[in-house]
């Protein structure tokens, strides 16, 4: 049997602990990267799932559009874009974004007109219940109240009871199934958020733009200071054959920025770049600790195997032969550690997503390879000093021949 492998199998506890140490380092690298990037990329994936090509938002927001909510773009632009660029634009979807605290954490809620709902969820069919304000009665009721020209100076007062009136209930939510799992919510449940009571009327498979959807007019009314003339952003669906970058330039107005939906991911990455830096720093520390662990293990191994090394030297083993043995043992342990690390990462990803359904851990081969490469390079470096010590073993002293 190959000597390094025989050593690993002979010193089982030492080998298992070493491989585990390496595995934990790799697991941290893969899981932390997968968690930070996975959760962020999942948001980007969801935005990219929207059946639209362009996003319109106030230019002063810059990259902050990835986190902005509330009043942003006047709704009138939706009508103008449709009217002026009919050949370029197939549809314009105003969306009012806000944040509601559900299932223990802030969730972005998308206020959207019922007719545009399918575009926002990328065509996903509800898995339970119905969509909010299905006949548009709430939207019509509010528009009639607030948008109809009136000479009257009478102050229009809308109460919570008006909003929740069964005839035109605006306090309805559709949530995605991951949020439903996280909060143990079902259709018919009533939840309180932002000092309002909402009824969950439908559940949609995850993957749409947000985890929460409500009538846009209700969102504007409640979270936009009663102004139902402005939304947060506009999604633009281009007509067949329209070129996106060209269309973006044409739709751009003073005060308005227009980007392609696929640019959102880059903006998100850039916006949260500092978080990646932090996570990567933690990963590097984890790997350094893992390498120190390997080094200590190999050094201990050399001490433990002093007699064996002396026997090899007494047989004429060259320094290169001894170095190769230590290095091979280190690399074998690291290979085993990499497998363990990958298995631990998969288990950790499953556990995180099982117990925290709103978190996403994306294990990519990119990071697995990065972890394995870093571990193997680290193992080789970590083996150098113990290997050098091996070449310095005094044969007679080690064999205690006298």
């Amino acid at each position: 049997m190959y000597l390094p492998l025989a050593n690993i199998l002979h010193y089982k506890l030492r080998s298992v602990l070493s491989a585990l140490g390496i595995g934990i380092g790799i697991c941290m690298l893969v899981t932390l990267s997968g968690l930070s990037r996975g959760s962020l990329y999942e948001i980007a994936d969801r935005w990219e799932a929207v059946d639209a090509d362009l996003i319109v938002y106030p230019d002063v927001w810059g990259e902050n559009v990835t986190t902005m909510s509330g009043i942003g773009v006047p709704d009138r632009y939706a009508a103008r874009f449709r009217a002026k660029h009919g050949r370029l634009v197939e549809d314009v979807v105003p969306v009012f974004l806000w944040h509601l605290r559900l299932a223990g954490q802030d969730q972005t809620v998308a206020g959207v007109d019922v007719g545009d709902f399918q575009r926002l969820v990328g065509g996903r069919k509800l898995s339970a219940g119905r969509v909010f304000d299905p006949d548009g009665a709430f939207g019509e009721w509010l528009e009639e109240l607030l948008l109809t020209d009136s000479d009257s100076d009478e102050v229009i007062e809308i109460t919570e009871a008006d909003l929740a009136d069964p005839q035109h209930n605006g306090l309805e939510l559709v949530i995605d199934d991951r949020l439903a799992a996280a909060g143990d919510y079902a259709v018919g449940d009533v939840v309180t958020a932002a000092n309002h009571r909402f009824e969950i009327v439908g559940i949609v498979p995850a993957g749409g733009m947000t985890r929460l959807y409500m009538p846009r007019r209700a969102a504007q009314m409640l979270f936009g200071n009663g102004d139902i003339t402005k939304s947060t952003i506009l999604f633009v669906k281009l007509a067949d054959g329209a070129e996106a970058s060209l269309a973006a330039r044409k739709l751009r107005r003073p005060g308005l920025e227009v980007i392609q939906v696929r640019q959102y991911r880059d903006m998100l990455e850039h916006k949260f770049g500092i978080m990646f830096t932090y996570v990567d720093a933690v990963n590097v520390i984890a790997l350094v600790i893992a390498f120190l662990f390997i080094m200590i293990t190999l050094y201990t191994m050399v001490l433990q195997q002093t007699r064996q090394i002396a026997i090899l030297k007494s047989g004429g083993a060259t320094n290169f032969f001894l170095l190769r043995q230590v290095l091979a043992e280190s690399l074998l342990l690291t290979a085993a550690g990499t497998v363990i690390g990958l298995a631990l990462s998969i288990a950790a990803a499953w556990a995180i997503q099982h117990f925290r359904p709103l978190l996403t851990v994306t294990i990519t081969w990119h990071w697995v390879l990065a972890g394995a490469t870093a571990a193997l390079a680290g193992a080789a470096l970590s083996a150098l000093y113990p290997a050098w010590r091996a070449t310095r073993v005094d044969v007679l002293e080690a064999l205690s021949l006298e």
């Binding site: 000597l3 007699r307 064996q308 004429g316 007679l396 021949l401 006298e402």
Partner: protein, 230 residues
Amino acid sequence: MASCDNILVAAGLHKTLGKGAAAVHVLRGLDLTVRRGEFLAVMGPSGCGKSTLLHVLGLITPPDDGAIELDGQPLPAGQARRNALRREHIGFVFQRFNLLNVLTARDNVAVSLRIRGKSDNGRVAELFEALGVARESRRKPEQMSIGQQQRVAVVRALAHRPALLLADEPTGNLDSTNSQALLEILRQTNRKEGQTIVMITHSASVAASADRIVQMDDGRILDGNDSAGR
């Protein structure tokens, strides 16, 4: 290895083991000549330096003073080149066998061959068979008796057909039957392959198998160094 009447000539060897107050001057100007193809037995009381002599002659440790010629050539400078000579020309049977505990008997021999860049060519199986440890060849040292371990150590030392075999009490842990079998193997390799053997032993009956016996005491060869043989 180039042909020369004397395969090994040691002159004025000095060796001190340990340091400071614990230092022991083990070899004290030792001279020894070993002829090619000779089977030489070195006898002497415990602690007289026999094992140290073997380690110095086996190039495992350098002498503090004195000169060694191997096949008429002085030893090269540098441990790496001496290691190369040891790998190529010297086989060693240690008093305590020094087998690798993590490997089977077969793998112990295989590693030794690998270090020397030699191939098996069926010789290892023959040696295992001849020394009566063929069945044990797949066992690890800890699963073998002391005597079996000793015989495996001999297989390892002979596997690469060294020109010079240095054996430190090779029969020390064997019963009389196995001792005789081992000595027969050594005699055969000595006669058939012309292998030179330097064997340390306490036993006069074991030493009697050798062509020549030298007595050693207090770090020097007392007599027999110039003997023409038995």
